[in-house]
């Protein structure tokens, strides 16, 4: 909403610099975005009379114009337009004038001819849209007079306000002035328009009926006769432009002016085009259509409200936009102007349904002041009568539906102070809100506050408390800090999640954050089964699936970096995945809506993609991650997984739980992403793992006695996992075996086909004594016997 300072002052004698006023408006919740001076450039523009228009000797497209600026002398101007003739009065920007765009007018040669100023179009002066030629001024003006004086214009300041959806009243100059006057403690008044009627009365000439009283609470009409469609006065055009609207003609402009001023949209019908001179308000019937003022033929919805004529044909879309068939034209002479109160929800729905958002619908859907319609119509008539653009027909035609009731709210002063953190007395509260129309009566200890008609958002005690706080000034409320009875902390899982992030970084893995949306086919491209939740209203098909895997995002990021000559990038993500499969079945949403989880399939995962690395590096990363969480034991079970290298992948089992997978991305998948390096892959159900984290890790005493190292190399079949041999050694070696390290893997034909040597270093140590050679020898032999027997192994000498 844009308001100007001069306009505000028509309602209240507000004071202060534009900067101070902007601060006050912002503090009132009417945030000022920009403060723009307008009209100041007009200072150097004067009225000039055209003496002669001559051809330019060296240019076809420009003219030489001699003008008289009041001293009778001829001043030569070079001009690109040709719509003026000798005798016309035109605006001349004299040398030194700074135009609205910032250009300074100078005396200079154009194509060899001196130009001593610039003749201006309406657009150049910000007085209208017209840039087809120089603005021709009324013949009665006097050369040499400043244009501002001639046209009744003035320098002004525009405040661009951000109006919150709960403040329909502030979508008007008067509403903004009311708040500002209250803050400044100056009187606020809306002048009562008093247009004088003449000619035949409207009563009986036009009829109005409301079929749906819920849709329309009030429908009021005024009649205008002898209408002469033409341009609006310049001062009005200037204000409309300052407010961001385009001047069109005097009737439309006056309607817009009144809407900006008072907040009430009005609509003018060409009475001759309203069949039967009858208007009726009802809901749409199946199959009805309407061509709206924007020239679009719209199929109407039965829930839409319409105004129909005597033939029961829609001629306007209620509260949103008028129809083309009754639009006023240059030849219109008889007009009826309507101001109504429309059901906000109906207007909001219609506006959304047709994706048609007008200045009118923006106001109606927030809730119109039910008491303002007649005042707005009178003001509109007054403006047009003053301009001599029409006469007002005596009488008015009004139909009534259901208007909102006036609301009275009980307000407890103690509650006001308790919410705001203030200690205001009751009369101070009353004084704060009285100037903005909230009138309060004392009832016992409490206040009975009557809500003003223009504040439909206020319906409860807390709404009034908000107004008291707003008028008092939120910035003036003394600051206090409440103290929690409980200490602030992260829980064990939150701390562990941070440990994982640091462990990843320490390992050289950076954290990525791809968008969680996928395109259809992204999962299949990764070799994964199709799935993921589908969005009902995505903006683009590429963002229509909610991911069920972190893989597409990370591989996409690897490919992106590779294509920017950054191969070998190691990335990880911790994020949510969503499943619709068996794990993702929605759990009794209807019941759990107020209780628990929505989707069983929404889980926190960790995934890492290490470009240029092979599966063993991912296993190392797995150890690092699990080490940072302090959980185990972990078992790797070689198993094929979709999209991963079939011979280099294992399922990760942590504490008996399938917690993810580790290995390498299937080279075929990499091909599809255009990734030329191998990519090691780790994927963990982080959410589940975090639940295993112990809040405290217990220390294990470090033995003070010497340890003994024994090296054993076993030759086993390739199919026997090292982990299996390790498990056997650990089982037999307990409790003296403190450490077990696979330090060498060796393949050779001499060992046999598909066989390899696994060399372990075993460290034995007791907590309470120095081990003897004999003790170690017994355990060593037991281990050898068991490994040989269990794994078809031979001991390498």
């Amino acid at each position: 909403m844009r308001v100007t300072l001069n306009w505000l002052r028509e309602f209240a004698p507000v004071e202060g610099s534009p900067h101070d006023i902007a601060e006050q408006l912002t503090d009132l919740g009417l945030e000022v975005g920009e403060v723009t001076p307008v009209g100041s450039a007009l200072g150097g523009v004067i009225v000039a009379r055209v003496l002669e228009v001559r051809e330019h000797p060296d240019a076809d497209r420009v003219r030489l114009v001699d003008v008289d600026t009041g001293d009778g002398e001829a001043l030569q101007i070079v001009c690109g337009a040709s719509n003026m003739a000798a005798g016309d009065l035109v605006p001349l920007a004299t040398v030194g004038t700074v135009m609205p765009g910032g250009m300074e007018i100078a005396a200079r040669k154009m194509r060899g001819q001196m130009s001593n100023g610039m003749l201006c179009s309406a657009q150049e002066l910000e007085l209208g849209d017209d840039h087809s030629g120089i603005l021709i001024l009324p013949a009665e003006e006097v050369p040499g007079v400043p244009l501002t004086e001639a046209l009744g214009l003035s320098a002004d300041v525009v405040f661009d306000l951000e109006v919150n959806p709960n403040r329909p009243d502030a979508l008007s100059v008067a509403g903004v002035a009311r708040d500002l006057a209250a803050r400044q403690g100056v009187p606020f008044t809306i002048p009562t328009p008093a247009p004088v009627g003449s000619g035949p009365t409207l009563d009986g000439a036009v009829s109005v009926t409301i079929d749906d009283p819920h849709l329309c609470g009030r429908f009021a009409l005024r009649g205008l006769g002898g209408v002469r469609i033409g341009a609006s006065p310049r001062w009005m055009a200037q204000r409309l432009i300052a407010a961001g609207m385009r001047p069109i003609n005097n009737v439309v402009d006056a309607s817009n002016y009144v809407m900006l001023e008072l907040g009430q949209p009005t609509h003018a019908f060409d009475l001759d085009k309203v069949r039967g001179a009858q208007l009726r308000v009802r809901r749409v019937r199946a199959g009805e259509q309407l061509e709206t003022l924007d020239g679009v033929l719209r199929a109407l919805d039965p829930a839409d409200g319409v105004i129909v004529d005597g033939d029961d044909v829609p001629i306007a879309l209620a509260g949103v936009m008028g129809g083309a068939s009754t639009e006023i034209s240059d030849t219109t002479t008889d007009v009826i102007v309507e101001a109504a109160w429309w059901d906000p929800q109906s207007v909001a729905d219609t506006s959304a349904r047709h994706n048609l958002h007008s200045e009118a619908s923006a106001r109606f859907k927030r809730g119109m002041d039910p008491d303002i319609a007649d005042r707005a119509l009178d003001r509109l008539a007054e403006l047009l009568v003053q301009q001599d653009a029409a006469t007002l027909r005596p009488g008015s035609v009004v139909a009534e539906g259901n208007l909102p009731e006036r609301v009275t709210v009980a307000v407890r002063p103690a509650r006001v102070n308790a919410v705001l953190g203030l200690s205001l007395d009751r009369s101070t509260m009353v004084d704060l809100i009285d100037p903005i129309g909230f009138t309060a009566d004392t009832v016992g200890d409490d206040l009975s506050v009557t809500i003003p008609s223009w504040r439909p958002d206020s319906t409860a005690e807390v709404d009034v408390i908000e107004e008291i706080g707003r008028m008092y000034g939120l910035s003036r409320i003394p600051r206090t800090v409440p103290v929690s009875a409980h200490p602030g902390r992260l829980d064990a899982a939150q701390r562990a999640r941070r440990s994982v992030r640091r462990a990843l970084a320490g390992f050289g893995v950076s954290e990525a954050m791809p968008m969680p949306f996928l395109a259809p086919g992204d999962l299949e491209r990764c070799g994964l089964p199709a799935g993921g939740l589908v969005l009902a209203n995505p903006l683009a098909a590429e963002e229509s699936v909610l991911r069920s895997s972190l893989r597409p995002g990370l591989l996409g990021a690897i490919a992106y970096n590779a294509s920017h000559r950054r191969p070998g990038v190691w990335l990880a993500e911790i994020g949510r995945v969503f499943e619709t499969g068996e794990r993702g079945v929605v759990v009794d949403v209807a019941e759990s809506a107020r209780l628990g989880r929505v989707l069983d399939g929404e889980r926190d995962q960790l995934a890492a993609a290490l470009a240029g690395a092979e599966a063993p590096t991912a296993v190392e990363l797995l150890d690092v991650v699990l080490g940072s969480l302090g959980i185990g034991p972990v078992v790797l079970r070689a198993e094929e997984r979709p999209g991963l290298h079939p011979a280099r992948t294992a399922v990760v089992e942590v504490a008996g739980l399938d917690a993810g997978m580790v290995g390498e991305i299937d080279p075929e998948v990499l091909d599809r992403f255009g990734i030329e390096e191998r990519v090691a892959w780790l994927e963990l159900e982080l959410g589940a793992l975090l639940e295993l984290v112990a809040p405290v890790r217990r220390a294990r005493a470090v033995s003070r006695f010497p340890s003994t190292d024994v090296d054993l190399a076993f030759v086993v079949d390739d199919r026997v996992p090292a982990a299996a041999v390790r498990t056997t050694i650990r089982a037999v070696g307990a409790p003296l075996l403190q450490d077990l390290d696979l330090f060498d893997v060796f393949r050779s034909e001499s060992l046999g086909v598909d066989r390899r040597s696994l060399a372990f270093r075993l460290r034995f140590q007791a907590e309470d004594r120095t081990l003897t050679d004999a003790e170690v020898g017994v355990v060593r032999q037991a281990i050898i016997d068991e490994v040989v027997a269990t794994h078809d192994a031979t001991l390498r000498a």
Partner: protein, 347 residues
Amino acid sequence: MSGAELAEETRTLVAAGLARLADAPSSAEVRSIESELLGKRSRLTEMKAGMRDLDAEDRRVLGAALNQARTELEAAAAERLDHLAARERRAVLAAERLDLTEYQGRASTGHRHLVTQTWERLEDVFVGMGFTVATGPEVETDWFNFEALNLPPSHPARSLWDTLYLDTTDLDGVGDQQLLLRTHTSPVQVRTMLRAVREGSGPPIYVVCPGRAYRQDTADATHLPVFHQIEMLVIDRGITMGDLSGTIETFTKAYFGQELTSRLRPSYFPFTEPSAEVDISQPDGSWLEVGGCGMVHPNVLRAGGLDPEEWSGFAFGFGIERLTMIRHHVTDIRDFITNDMRFLEQF
């Protein structure tokens, strides 16, 4: 010869020996000189053997001279050996010379995402202020995302959020519930209240809720359809707007710096009343809008199972990306989701 003459000879021998030791080029040479001067066949040993032929006074003079000669020569040899050993060690180490500048810029750790770093920093500030951290699901019901937050169906303010809905036609058990991607982290407020009531763990509630939020929005330099928010929720007895203002001021100083301040400006959110925008002062005197806040609306407290006459509270929420952009001078929000290493590795 007299003792004095013999003593004089020792001094001559010592002087010559010292000179030779000082020039000895290697430890072997030092040992050879030492043996030549002090060994069994040396003149000094010979002189010591001949002492028994001298009288007592000459023997005393010569004995003293011989002792001093041996001490001086031994000390000089040891010193020369130390010197040579040090020189040899230095030579060995010199041969191991490395140009360390060759190794600069080779290794790096990974980098936590900048948004994560801000997230954790914010959590730390709030934990320091006595808050715990709560999270919730990103796929939400209409009830949690809107209705419970004082946004009943067809509330006009619902259009403030461009909501992404899920296609639930193939999902079991949804019934007529609408599922959506939460448009803010505020559903966690009500979830937290309900859990506290159910588990008897509160109020008082002092939590922050960080997490992802979604909007039907096209990505540009300042918007993403997926972004992060964090919001603070306090529910206790006697909580006031002054508490809200003071807590935000404490946070402002803790996060942005002691020299900055905050202000509240009346605004509108359906789930709080009174509502306000939070501005933070800038060094140049202007104000920067960082988030929204307000006193928890009585209807929201009721949805959370709490009696608004007994409990009151406030909420304050803002975008993590926006704060990150302000702090680190990031000019395009899309840098957070592109995962370009040239961006990630800066932080």
